[in-house]
């Protein structure tokens, strides 16, 4: 059986990163704590995965202040949206060919 890996992005091999992208695909903008509610992992682990996606250019950061407290919110970039959609399409394609 020939498995094509076209379109499957390396950044999404990690399930937490895939999870973060899934959540951000359907939510406009989320801050760190809201994001953390959906994962059962430590702050550090979530932060490092966010950093990795940020580096890739898939998510953007918006920093602001709520009163005096800094508030960081994350949202999906256009590049990230395209990569995620391509990844989904590739997954579906692969699933079809497996049957």
């Amino acid at each position: 059986m020939k498995i094509s890996i076209d379109g499957l992005h390396k950044a999404f091999e990690n399930r937490i990163r895939l999870g973060i992208m899934s959540v951000l695909a359907v939510n406009d903008m989320l801050d760190f704590n809201s994001l953390k509610d959906f994962f059962d992992i430590t702050d550090g682990k979530l932060a490092s995965n966010i950093k990795a996606l940020e580096k890739e250019g898939f998510i953007n950061v918006k920093k602001s202040f709520i009163g005096k407290k800094p508030n960081t919110r994350y949202y999906m970039s256009k590049k990230g949206k395209k990569a995620f959609d391509d990844h989904l399409k590739a997954l579906e394609q692969l699933l079809k060919s497996q049957k």
Binding site: I3, E13, N14, R15, I16, L18, G19, S22, V23, A25, V26, N27, L30, S34, D37, F38, F39, D40, I41, L88, L91, E92, L94, L95, Q98
Partner: protein, 222 residues
């Protein structure tokens, strides 16, 4: 259907470990589950609906049998029922507090059981979607009450509760949408046939809650 999916060992189960067949189906399932969990409030408890329905039926029964309340006119003609009217308001408030308390408690318990945070981004969304119609309806009912338009209070509560459910349905189970529409319809019917007000109220807040509660309980909580 159980929605909760354990996300522990998330990383270790990476699908792309060499010499293991990648499980694309699981990837898709997990993506879908994450999207659903992060946009929908799924801790809603069917049991809470059943309890709310029972409180409402009890409240309607007390109002009708004990306090002899069944307005058939839009406006209160005389003032001698003023004292009784306050008792009705008291009954309504007790029903509301009991129903809300049970709903919050059971939803919280369900969230804890499935390992989720009760108060998260989706909960906030549900609350804000409910609040606008409910507060509008509440203030309007207050105005109706002070103007003596007591016959319109039951229809109003049904209409605005229905609007709140309809508005919230996109953030929770789809069934809530049709439930909202039924409440709105009952409210509109009783606006026209004022004499049916209490009956429609008992149907809307009592029977509809119990039926949907049982349905949701069996569909989503096994």
């Amino acid at each position: 259907m159980q929605i909760s999916i354990p996300f522990i060992n998330f990383e270790m189960q990476s699908t792309f470990i060499m010499n293991e067949k990648p499980d694309y189906a699981r990837d898709i399932t997990e993506i879908r589950s994450m999207m659903e969990r992060s946009t929908k409030f799924l801790s809603l408890s069917g049991l809470a609906g059943i309890m709310a329905g029972i409180y409402a039926l009890a409240g309607a029964f007390v109002s009708y049998q004990v306090l002899d309340f069944n307005p058939d006119k839009l406006a209160e003609g005389n003032t001698e029922t003023d004292g009784a009217l306050w008792k009705i308001v008291g009954v309504a408030v007790v029903v509301l507090v009991l129903a809300l308390g049970t709903a919050i408690y059971l939803s919280w318990k369900k969230a804890v059981k499935s390992g989720e945070k009760f108060y998260n981004a989706t909960t906030r969304r549900v609350i804000s979607a409910m609040l606008a119609p409910l507060v509008t309806g509440g203030v309007l009912m207050l105005a109706l009450f002070t103007k003596g338009l007591t016959g319109l209070m039951a229809p109003c509560s049904l209409i605005f509760y229905g609007l709140a459910l309809y508005n919230t349905s996109k953030f929770t189970y789809d069934e809530v949408k049709s439930m909202g529409l039924i409440e709105i319809a009952l409210g509109l019917i009783s606006t026209y046939f004022v004499g049916l007000g209490l009956l429609c109220w008992a149907l809307g807040f009592g029977v509809v809650h119990i039926i949907y509660g049982i349905y949701l309980h069996y569909k989503y909580e096994r």
